[in-house]
């Protein structure tokens, strides 16, 4: 008998690409609704107890009680077989699972949109070469009604606290609220850490928009995630008649919400457009989009609202105005068909198939808008960001990747921002051509010869050691052409290759580079004794990896120069911002999210 000896055994089972983990879709308050338990499918990686993986280390140290809680081992077969631990407010291991899952999911969404890996801020301390830079997640860091990203602790601190009596909150008096069980709070804080990793100097509150921008951007990331949650979306679509932005859902009872008698008669808040519901109820904060889109857009708001959350909500409302506009435009034919078939013009309960079609569109649009916003980060100037810069970055990034704009996304965004008085500082006209940054024309800048682009996993140490000096040398040599001062040193805080697909489906490889220089200017030129603050300027470069022509790869060329140059207006603006914050000599100041979120 000719038996082939089975020397190698059967082929191995390939590793699972995804790890299912159960999380609250919103937070524990909505336990009974909307299929509030969601299965997050995170990218598979081997995990040690904590969980501790490649990007995050969950360390459940309770600073207020000076206690470690037992870490969850997500690779335990009993957990794997269950698809993750079931939600349990009383078991810290579920909390650990949830912060890991939601933070990982958030990071993945950004990396997918950016086409590159996100790197956390480097820590100040010297660590041995090859140490993996993980972000810490502390699910029960302190007893406090607060949660925040702290660059100094290199992690996110989630607090927990006891509620007092709040009549209209869906919690019991004296109940414990865990901020680490709020999907929105985890996504929001992780986004802060991501932005801090992407832009070295964005934590300096150099103008009134900066803290507001951080809050708005983190809220956008958390809110767009709501629209990828199918069960919640279908319910909301049915109960808002398809108008997703309605603040209230129709009651499920006998359509008699004027005189509610049983709980089903009560109108419910639309959870899609609010943030951190449970926390918001007990702290009276964060009404999410509810207040932002509940008021008509006013260009004057941008001139009067200075509190970071209030100001940030202008930006959030602008982006969501565009999102809902595109969603309504895209779903218009579906509503027309529905009405043509005898459906009501003002439906209270949509048929399931229609709701599902609307859901698909809402999700696609949300993904598109999240991508547009996330990609814009790489097109922002390296320092002193304003809402106007963000608008310009959104339009430029989108036009760069998707020049045709068949759905009118950029037009909708422009109009939504215009209605709220947000413009780039130096735009001449309110048109796409004037608002988008122009591409650097051919031969305007010399090529950046010798640059390595690595692969989607990033650059090797060897490649970084080649690219760093090339970029520094280039910046020094061409400082004038880049609009920088040749008298001040130029630093290169970051450079990252990015791999994205454009609208033709072809791969686009670029490198995004920050160049920054610092000038110390007096706080008061008439009173030198008050000291100085650092005025930073710089450019973000988008460098293209060229194609191959006639068997030869050309040199990399600069496609975009995104500037933030020093000028008198910026000096005045930063001086004003620092004076208002009481910043003194040296001006070494960073946004403290702990204070921004806690009060």
């Amino acid at each position: 008998m000719a038996a082939v000896a089975n020397l190698h055994g059967p082929p191995p089972i390939s590793p699972a690409p995804r790890r299912p983990l159960k999380v609250y879709a919103f937070d524990p308050t909505l336990a009974g609704l909307f299929g509030n338990v969601l299965v997050a499918m995170t990218r598979y990686e081997p995990l040690q107890p904590g969980p501790v993986g490649e990007r995050f280390a969950v360390v459940d140290y309770d600073g207020s009680n000076k206690t470690y809680y037992a870490p969850v081992d997500l690779d335990d077969p009993n957990i794997l077989l269950r698809g993750g631990l079931d939600p349990a407010e009383a078991d810290p291991r579920f909390h650990q699972q949830m912060v890991y899952a939601v933070a990982t999911e958030t990071l993945e969404r950004f990396e997918r949109a950016l086409g590159r890996r996100v790197h956390w801020r480097r820590i100040d301390k010297r660590v041995p070469k090859g140490t993996v830079n993980r972000l810490y997640l502390f699910p029960h860091a302190m007893v406090q009604a607060n949660a925040f990203y702290s660059p100094d602790a290199h992690g996110i601190l989630f607090g927990y606290f006891r509620t007092t009596d709040y009549a209209d909150a869906e919690v019991l008096p004296g109940q414990t609220i865990f901020t680490c069980l709020s999907h929105d709070i985890i996504a929001h804080e992780t986004t802060h850490a991501i932005v801090d990793g992407i832009r070295t100097y964005f934590m300096e509150p150099t103008n009134i928009d900066v803290p507001a921008f951080h809050e708005a951007f983190a809220d956008l990331a958390a809110l767009f995630r709501h629209f990828s949650h199918k069960e919640a979306l279908i319910t909301a679509i049915q109960q808002t008649g398809g108008r997703l932005y309605s603040p209230m859902l129709a009651s499920e009872g006998a359509a008699n919400s004027d005189h509610p008698t049983i709980q089903l008669d009560l109108q419910q808040d639309n959870p899609l457009i609010e943030l951190a519901r449970q926390f918001g109820q007990v702290s009276g904060m964060r009404e999410g989009l509810r207040s932002a889109i509940g008021t008509p857009p006013k260009p004057a708001d941008i001139l009067t609202k200075t509190e970071p959350h209030a100001r940030g909500s202008i930006l959030v409302a602008a982006v969501f105005d565009a999102y809902f506009t595109i969603y309504m435009q895209k779903t218009k034919p579906l509503f027309q068909i529905f009405r043509a078939g005898g459906g009501s013009g003002n439906p209270v309960d949509l048929p399931q198939p229609l709701a599902e079609l609307l859901t698909t569109t809402a999700t696609q649009c949300a993904d598109l808008f999240f991508g547009v916003c996330a990609r814009a980060l790489d097109y922002c100037p390296p320092v002193d960001v304003t809402f106007g810069d963000f608008l310009r970055a959104v339009l430029t990034a989108d036009a760069d990747l998707f020049p045709s704009d068949t759905d009118g996304v950029r037009y909708a965004i422009m109009q939504a921002f215009r209605l709220r008085g947000i413009y780039p500082e130096d735009a001449e006209y309110f048109s796409e051509g004037s608002l988008c940054l122009p591409e650097v024309s051919k031969n305007e800048m010399p090529p950046v010869s010798g640059l390595h682009f690595g692969d989607p996993n990033g650059l090797t140490t060897e490649e970084k050691n080649i690219d760093g000096p090339i970029l520094r040398e280039y910046a020094k040599k061409h400082a004038h052409a880049l609009g920088l001062s040749s008298d001040l040193p130029i630093e290169v805080p970051s450079f990252h290759p990015m791999f994205r697909t454009d609208e033709d489906g072809s791969l686009k490889t670029d490198m995004v580079v920050e160049l920054v220089q610092t000038n110390n200017v007096p706080i008061d030129s008439k009173n030198r004794g008050l000291g100085t603050f650092p005025l930073r300027s710089g450019v973000t470069l988008m460098i293209k990896r060229p194609g191959v022509h006639a068997g030869i790869r050309n040199d990399p060329t600069i496609r975009y120069i995104i500037p933030k140059y020093a000028n008198g207006d910026r000096v005045a603006r930063q001086r004003a911002a620092y004076a208002q914050q009481g910043v003194t000599n040296g001006g070494n100041v960073h946004i403290n999210f702990g204070l921004l979120h806690g009060i």
Binding site: Y69, R93, F138, N146, D152, A310, L530, A579, T584
Partner: protein
Amino acid sequence: MKKTLQKHSRKSTHKTVRTRAARTVRAQRNGARRTTATKVPSTQPQTARTAGTKVGIHIRMYRVGFGDFFLLSFPAPSGPPLYVLVDCGVHAVDLNSLDDAVADMAKLTSGQLALVIMTHRHADHISGFGRCAKAFAGFNVERVWMSWFEDPKNAAAASYQSTLTAVATNLQAAFALRADAPDSDYVRMVQNATGELSAAGGPTGNQAALNVLRGGFKNRPPIDYYQAGDTATLPDSLVQAGVTAKILGPPIDPDLVAEMDGKGHQYLSTNSDDGAAPKRFSQVFNSSKAAYPQEAFELYTPDEISKNIAAAQPDLAIAKATQVDNTINNQSLVILFGLQGKTLLLAGDAQWGNWQNFLFGGALGTAGHNGLTDEAKQILGNIDVYKVGHHGSTNATPIDAVNAMRADAIAMCSTQPGAYGKPENNSEVPRIPLIAALNKKTENQLARSDSVMVPGADTPQIQQFEKNNPPGPLPPVFQAGSSGAAGQLYVELEI
């Protein structure tokens, strides 16, 4: 102590008393204060604005400690001058001179005030009304001015004010319970907001003071509530005397109004953590660092992690205390008085949020609002007297405002070192660089109330407070004086 009464050289009926003897070392150190009342002729070139020509406005700044107590007088067409009282209070570092000061005012004014202004409801601006309620019951007052925040007909404002007081009361209780007492600055801030001191015998609460302002005078004067831009109704007597007043603050802040209407008290969330500890996880979950893989501690060791966590946590109670303090300061009425070309700017304790609309025409830092408005430049470029805001604290007088002031304007600052802040944090009040800048700007015509030798201000403690932040001698343009009690009570300026 023997006193010499001297009449002003002009028609003024003020009695200004100057002490003759300087008994203490400290007084000798500041001996230059004892200047004569002879007017120093202005060295400034005469301008069209009648600079240098006095019109008979007197500004008397009582020294009470850390607080504000200003008495203005304007010459009447006939009869005695017309008096305007702006605040009457002391809180931190109380020198116990307030009763004497009120008695001095009663004597000078014969119990007749044209106008009483309460800039804002902090104890250091109003405690005197409660403490000297009996004395105030003897005053006839033509009108009372307060900010729009105090208008009882404005339901949102009333609820906002009571929330503020509730927050401050909660914070006060929370601080009192703390084993590790926070920096006493914050305790003072919340006490200043409630007006209560934990020790018995302190000033009475702010409510008592407000009660006097609203109905504790001999007559029942009408009360006006103002916001920036309002046309102020002056008492008839002041109108006839040609006095004008312009209200520059507080603005109606749309953010704030929105907050007041909405349930989201973002600025004012009382305290979600009521002090009681949340229920702990079951003991079975307690573990140790040994349960974690070594990769968890690659970046930071367990010790570093626990330190990092502790260091990263802001003290929210302190942040809230600061916020309550700022919020109330920003309610300050800001008034520009004028008479025959002379102008006086009284800024209460207004901080940036209050000033910015006046100075910059909008929220500072928003597009187009990084520089002074023409109106602000014009007003500041012409003022004769500036009542330094917030006792000389750094957050109240923007650098831009100092730079824009008239070069030889006169400034008066009621203050007392040792109450708030520390030089090492750049937070001392009065702030040394600001005082230096004002001295430079005013050509050394800045008077600090703590230059005045009130009895009891000479303790080793006070001397220690003033060691690094000495008031310096009183500039010659001012006089120190008293009407009856021992020592001095006030600084006075005539313009």
